[in-house]
């Protein structure tokens, strides 16, 4: 059970969410800069045989876009991106994201880098998987100080989708847009409903039965450490060295 790294569990977990058969099919997935675990999850889905087109914004060589950085947003506007990943310095119980900063606008407490494309992407992709490794009351708050991108929209506002789930270092939450609330979907090994409650600043629903997040299978681990790592080595050298113990040939 401890024969895998936390990052490998997270990648395998996100991969299953990407492939969730109850969701609209993800044919084209975009992964933002600085997101090696979601990238690994998507490569894993590809290596498992699912024909997913993957656009990695972090790739400098072979960046998929030829119309400048606006092409990702145009592509999304056209409805051609089915799934995207977002995180946040703060995430609240209604799935609002704060990438701007704490305290008074525009982040007079702790300033984060900024909202990037979140205020557009979150509303324009059919599915968003929220991902943040740190699971603490500091990050998962009852109400974000500032809303970069809102979890649900007023009726009548054009929106293609919402968060599907929130994956953290401790658990998986499912998001329910009708009630604008999270429910606990699974807890990673070693966590309990109580430990999640203690680490979470927002209230969430808990079903009668909360399963443990399934460990990566042997096949998934082999693919992650082999074919997936091969794909990621150039773009995420530090991640591959740390998690898979592999270094780019000089």
């Amino acid at each position: 059970m401890s024969d895998f790294k936390p990052e490998e569990l997270l990648a395998a977990t996100i991969c299953r969410l990407v492939l969730d058969p109850s969701q609209p099919v993800a044919r084209h997935v975009a992964v933002g800069a600085a997101s090696p675990i979601p990238a690994a999850a998507c490569y894993l889905a590809q290596k498992l045989g699912y024909p997913i087109r993957l656009s990695l914004l972090a790739r400098t060589q072979g960046n998929p876009f030829t119309d400048g950085t606006r092409e990702l947003f145009d592509l999304t506007g056209q409805g051609r991106i089915d799934l995207f990943f977002l995180g946040g310095g703060q995430i609240d119980g209604q799935a609002n994201l704060n990438l701007v900063g704490t305290g008074e606008w525009p982040g007079r407490g702790v300033r984060f880098p900024g909202s990037f494309g979140s205020a557009f992407m979150y509303m324009m992709v059919p599915r968003t998987i929220l991902f943040r490794e740190e699971h603490s009351p500091r990050v998962l708050v009852e109400k974000v100080d500032n809303i970069s991108a809102n979890g649900v929209s007023e009726p009548g506002v054009f929106r293609r989708g919402t968060a599907q789930a929130l994956v953290t270092g401790r658990c998986v939450f499912q998001f329910h847009p009708a009630t604008a609330r999270f429910s606990l979907a699974s807890v990673h090994a070693g966590e309990t409903v109580a430990s999640i409650r203690a680490a979470t600043g927002f209230s969430f629903d808990v079903p009668a039965e909360v399963p443990e997040t399934p460990a990566p299978t042997a096949e998934e681990l082999a693919l992650l450490r082999g074919a997936v790592c091969d794909e990621m080595l150039e773009t995420y050298p530090e991640f591959c060295a740390r998690v898979f113990g592999r270094k780019l040939a000089a």
Binding site: A33, A34, T60, Q61, N63, F65, T66, D67, G68, T69, R70, F73, D74, G77, L99, V100, G101, W105, P106, G107, R108, V110, R111, F112, P113, G114, S115, F116, G117, S118, A119, F120, M121, Y122, M123, M124, N146, I147, S148, A149, N150, S153, E154, G156, V157, F158, E238
Partner: protein, 278 residues
């Protein structure tokens, strides 16, 4: 070889930028002219209003650190793998710069409106974000092509005084080439004047070559060109050189304090060696 008529020296180019100018700058994945940022710091320009297309990186960070900046309009300021931009964060904390937060496609859209010569353009999304609440210059109206309702954001055209970026090369006619980094073309189209540093000047005319033309920006838009080898450094230039992450990490460490930043500047911006290398 006939040099382009717009060829000048870096410091002469920096001298064209007055205090208070609004300047569009590409981010660290799209050819910022770090050389020009350093030249502007040396020149001691003040009150710049920087525009991140669509986000801001190292060039913006050091201009803020050097006290050249009054306002940043951007979707984010980040040093990528080197993390948060320390002088930007400090300036926000101290309230010493005005930050106009946006979201990436909004930055592109405002420049595209200028590119097309229209006073505004609509954009989906954004409604419900606090970004909108803090942008009184952005409007929401009902989509006139819907049967009613369907609110949509209208963004005003943004036409900065200058676009400043780095390109791989210029040709004898003053066209510049930067491959797929087409947001720099939008910058050049949208801004009133474009000042461009290049690695080198080559003979010929990119516009006569089908292979080169699509990655070129016509001299029509380019007001001044200065040759600065490795002018994007420590940021990457296409397939020519990579981002120097160790350098950026070192910067981020030093720039945690104003004193550390001043020391970094003394070494990397103000020493005759640093200046001469440009």
């Amino acid at each position: 070889m006939a040099p382009p008529a717009t060829l000048t020296q870096l410091d002469a180019m920096a001298a064209q930028v007055p205090n208070g100018a609004q300047i569009a700058v590409p981010p660290d994945n799209s050819l910022p002219s770090v050389a020009m940022a350093k030249a502007l710091i040396r020149r001691g320009v003040r009150g710049l209003r920087l525009v991140g297309v669509p986000v801001s990186g190292f060039a913006t960070e050091i201009l803020i650190g050097a006290g050249c900046v009054a306002e940043v309009q951007t979707s984010a300021v980040s040093l990528g793998e080197a993390g948060f931009a320390p002088r930007f964060s400090a300036a926000v904390r101290e309230g010493s710069i005005r930050v106009l937060d946006a979201t990436c496609p909004a930055m592109h859209t405002m420049l595209q409106a200028s590119e097309k010569g229209v006073p505004f353009m609509p954009l989906r999304g954004i409604i419900g974000s606090d970004i909108l609440a803090h942008r009184p210059d952005w409007k929401v109206m009902n989509n006139p092509f819907a049967d009613g309702g369907d609110p949509i954001v209208l963004l005003p055209a943004l036409r900065p005084d200058f676009g400043i970026f780095h390109a791989a090369m210029a040709d004898s006619r003053g066209n510049v080439w930067l491959g797929r980094k087409r947001e720099c073309a939008t910058i050049a189209h949208a801004c009133q004047r474009s000042l461009v540093t290049v690695e080198r000047v080559v003979e010929g005319d990119f516009l006569l070559d089908e292979r080169m033309a699509s990655g070129a920006i016509s001299a029509t838009y380019i007001d001044s060109i200065a040759i600065v080898e490795r002018g994007a450094q420590p940021i990457a230039l296409l397939d020519e050189y990579r981002t120097d992450t160790a350098f950026l990490l070192d910067y981020a460490r030093m720039a945690k304090t104003a004193e550390g930043f001043a020391e970094w500047c003394a070494i990397h911006v103000f020493t005759p060696r640093a200046a001469a290398a440009e």
